[in-house]
């Protein structure tokens, strides 16, 4: 691998390291919104810098400017050339960024699944009209990089057959193959178990020790503290801190990020009642990948059970069973005292199951339709909103206006297309639809993904309210902080196998990590 020669052989951190990337006064406006406000950022070879910030703090905009997807209104990006001297990067050119040695691993992988890992790596590295796809030299280079970085993965099978962790390794190899000087990792551990994340951290450290500069975008503060030497915090588009990680703790960083102190509250349940959901050795599958094998679980009225696990391990199937989109292949599934054998989303709603789907844009809402239409979508079959098949339009309007007020949805009115709402407000409409009928069983699948702190807090409060009202809540989340904030009992899911549910108080990050990896945390339930 060719890294800047200045750091070759020297131990990272000792000698003053050369700057490889320098951002000066980056400013970007979208209409009235100041997305980036005169941001300065310097990055030296071999350094791991955390970029912290809430959704909407300006991280994505900054990275898009660095990558040439956007052009800054003011400011300059400079990158070290082959001679080590900083030279301005032409704005608005993704090619130039790539050519200057800036690489990024996105949260959503940019891999073609029908190609092999090797093919993904060499794609676009030679002129399109050249015969062959890379040849022996490319093979050798990939093998050398994989060995050097310790990123082992089978590069000759189609990417669709790799696990999420393996795909991420291909993504990193893809960047390294282009001899990057700066590697940006965007929320890289969101899709990994804590143990896998530890492996990634080792890789990142080893890459940095060879002179690679790393920008690590994350909101997991523990990781940031243990991995990064420096942390840059953005808030409301401005840089509010740029400090060494040493000496910082979670609370300080969280406060910097949010701008106020956050209370972590966990209220105990008021007492649990009858089981509202029982799985007894249930097996089911959604498609080829996501499946559930012999899963058993009890969820009682008045409690929240959190299912921790990396997406794709069977949560999709579990959620689909509750949503009425899948049926058990074997075993016994009982919802609110009724044994479920078929797929019928309508029947689930009718039984009193409130469902919050994982993807609010795809399954949760119909973007082109109005808030009112989205609100009544799953409740139309009943007599409330129709008469002899004709829509009771004034009633639909009135009810929607009521829940808009009750759930504090910020919008121009019930007739506004739902696609115009922010993520948080859209999620509130979905939550209103699920919770307004006072369901006795609630499925909340990734209920706050991508939402800001305020919206997240609001949705958490409403889920806790539902529990306190006596509903049983099944919370499926990849976000351990969310699981710990809400769940009374926690189970892990791994390769379709659901662990026992342990009392939340008896678990910590590490033991949940073991559950997510399918191992026994070694505590009594």
């Amino acid at each position: 691998m060719t890294y800047p020669t200045q750091t070759d052989g020297t131990s990272a951190g000792a000698a003053p390291r050369s700057t490889v990337l320098s951002l000066r006064g980056i400013t970007k406006r979208f209409g009235a919104l100041l997305a980036n406000d005169a941001i300065d950022l310097d990055l030296r070879a071999g350094e791991i810098v955390a970029l912290l910030g809430e959704n909407g703090a300006g991280k994505t905009t900054l990275m898009n400017i660095l990558f040439g997807h956007y052009v800054a209104d003011a400011g300059e990006v400079r990158v070290a050339g082959p001679d080590g001297a900083l030279a301005p990067l032409p704005p608005g050119s993704a090619d130039a960024a790539l050519g200057a040695g800036i690489g990024m691993v996105h949260q959503h992988f940019t891999l073609a699944e029908n190609l092999s890992g090797f093919e993904n790596i060499v794609l676009g590295t030679r002129p399109l009209w050249s015969p062959g796809i890379g040849g022996r030299a490319a093979r050798a280079k990939v093998a050398r990089i994989a060995a050097d970085s310790g990123l082992g993965v089978d590069l000759d099978v189609s990417v669709s057959r790799l696990s999420v962790g393996e795909k991420q390794r291909v993504e990193i190899l893809k960047a390294l193959y282009r001899d990057v000087k700066v590697l940006i990792l965007d929320e890289p551990t969101a899709v990994l178990t804590p143990q896998e994340a530890e492996g990634l951290a080792d890789t990142v450290r080893s890459l940095a020790s060879r002179g690679l500069a790393v920008i690590f975008i994350s909101h997991k503060l523990n990781e940031v503290i243990s991995l990064c030497e420096r942390v840059v915090v953005l808030r409301g588009g401005a840089k509010v801190a740029d400090r060494a990680t040493a000496g910082a703790d979670r609370a300080t960083l969280a406060e910097l990020m949010v701008g106020r102190s956050i209370e972590v509250r966990h209220s105990a349940p008021r007492g649990v009642g009858e089981p509202v959901l029982t799985l007894d050795r249930v097996s089911a599958a959604m498609g080829r990948r996501d499946r559930l094998v012999d899963a058993s679980l009890d969820l009682r009225a008045g409690e929240i059970v959190g299912i921790a696990g990396v997406s794709g391990n069977g949560q999709g199937t579990l959620a689909a069973l509750l949503a009425g989109l899948a049926a058990p292949r074997s075993g016994r599934l009982s919802v609110l005292g009724e044994v479920i054998t078929g797929e019928d989303p309508r029947a689930m709603v009718a039984r009193g199951v409130g469902r919050v789907p994982e993807d609010r844009h795809r399954e949760g809402s119909i973007g082109a339709m109005s808030i009112a239409e989205n609100f009544v979508l799953e409740r139309l079959q009943g007599g409330d909103f129709q008469r002899l098949g004709f829509l009771a339009r004034s009633r639909i309007r009135a009810e929607t206006e009521r829940v808009i007020a009750a759930f504090d949805v910020r919008c121009s009115g019930p007739d506004a297309p739902i696609r115009l709402l922010s993520g948080g407000n859209m999620q509130k409409v979905i939550l209103a639809r699920a919770l307004d009928g006072r369901p006795r069983l609630v499925l909340a699948h990734q209920p706050t993904r991508g939402l800001d702190v305020a919206a997240t807090a609001d949705i958490h409060r409403r889920l806790l309210d539902a529990r306190d009202r006596g509903a049983g809540v099944l919370l499926i989340s990849e976000d351990l902080d969310e699981i710990f904030a809400l769940a009374d009992r926690i189970a892990g899911i791994h390769h379709g196998e659901l662990s026992r549910a342990f009392p939340a108080g008896s678990l910590d990050q590490r033991s949940v990590g073991l559950l997510m990896a399918g191992q026994d945390p070694g505590i009594a339930a």
Binding site: H69, A94, M104, H106, T110, L123, K174
Partner: protein, 313 residues
Amino acid sequence: MEALEILLQPSFWAAAIRIATPLIFGVLGALLCERAGVLNLGIEGIFVAGAMAGWLSVYLGLPLWGGVAVAALTGAAFGLLHAVLTVPLGLSQHVTGIGVTLLATSMSYFGYRVAFPNVTSPPRIEAFRPLDLGPLREIPFVGPILAQQTALTWLAFACVAVVGLVLARTQLGLAVRAVGDNPAAVESQGLSVTAIRMGAVVAGSALMAVGGAFLTMSAFNAFFFGMISGRGWVCIALTVFASWRPGKALVGALLFGAFDAYQLRLQTVSGGVVPSQIFLMLPYVFSIAALLVAARRADYPRALMQPYFKGQR
């Protein structure tokens, strides 16, 4: 047993290959577009336009290969129209494709009427002749079959190999396959999704048009209204049947050709007891059946019909 003897006649197999040839071009073109993520329902009209343009240029004095080139360019032009509307502008591929078919068809028919306002029998050209294979003709059974084929059929076979090789073994092929699966993968490697998709649609459409030209310049020597009669749609069905692979496309087209040739011969054997329309329906029924067989396990390109805009992921 006459029905089975047909299968032993070299002339039957020669006809099967002749019928298959335009479909080979068509399926290759369609799979190229779809591999890149663009459904091209303009195919039916592009067939008509290719048939008309190629034939007309030869009629007006161009050499045969010049006619093929004009046909290809005509196809490319309609492909470009489809590509501009569906790739950078992201318009519905279904509706745009139907629009391109209607436009290409009506332009061809109108153009024909402008060129020949008052003819009753279609003007003819000197079409491609079977390629002289020399000593290869003497190979038993196969020789006579191949000896009847024209250069365009051999070009179709060559195209199967070339498209297959390009897709499997070149950077360009990687890019086309990747852009139909996950455009972001292509963009993240510094390539232009728009350029690759448009290029694939233009190239695919040119192939389709050559398929059309085969009909007026090799299978027949004139242009008729309604001569394409659904061959384009058949190609779309066969593309699914071929799971977007050039080799299987060849097999699918040859199967269709054999089936069509067989029903044509069966018609004469049956002696008029069964209405001819029953036989004429069979190729369409065959195409639907082929689609049904393949559809369940079809592995559609993941990004098929998904428009992509720069920086989106």
